[in-house]
Amino acid sequence: MAAKISYADVEVGTELPAQTFSVTRATLVQYAGASGDFNPIHWNEKFAVEVGLPDVIAHGMFTMAEAIRVVTDWAGDPGAVVEYGVRFTKPVVVPNDDKGATVEVSGKVAAKLDDNTVRVDLTATSAGQKVLGMSRAVVRLA
């Protein structure tokens, strides 16, 4: 494990570089194939509406995978992540057009812990709404 950020250089409140991720229907089809999650709410509008959703929604696990990139890109080594958890609070609604949806993710160091680890709290929003709650990662720094 070889994070490129030094524990000594980080303080509570240190902000991680924010990122914006784009999600289109094509993204969801590709993620379905790669992850093996073929639930039709992620690609079939008719089905999604029938079960009470506004439209096709992104896989929660897709959003979770995007959000941690703020941490892994910052730390340099994704293997430095020792814990990661989220709550799926609101779906990311993905319209059937070439723009799709965007997810904005920011992160901040919330606590310095033992053993060169820090806790990062993440915020993920789409269309102005928080889509993840209690989104936290513990990462081991250099």
Binding site: A34, M64, D73, V81
Partner: protein, 150 residues
Amino acid sequence: MALDQSFVGRSYPPTDPYEVGREKIREFAEAVGDSNPVYTDPEAARALGHPDVIAPPTFVFAITFKAAGQVVQDPQLGLDYSRVVHGDQKFAYTRPVRAGDRLTVTSTIESIKSLAGNDILDVRGEVHDEAGEHVVTAVTKLVARAAEVG
């Protein structure tokens, strides 16, 4: 109907090993748009101290969720899967998943709660490698929404 509390603590037999392949990791990294070379280039992975390419942190969910199917589909438990949504997801890593791993998952029902007619189930998946060493623990909270009245 509330789920039977006596299922708390029940463990299911370990799954057959899942062999993690480099190209599967590449496919997953591409699907999430992550171009970090540690996922695709063994040299880049070795430069960071990993013996082979590693998988993105959430990759293992595909394996643990499949394993959780034993719980979800246990007819004795009687969960109505058509009403289930994914509430929370947590991972605790001893080390990253990497190419060449042969991983088994042991699923355990960690808790069962009933809240406003919803059944809330925490399933813990302990992931071990071929040597029996712990790799990662995944905890998946599943919420079975209350059946509509009428």
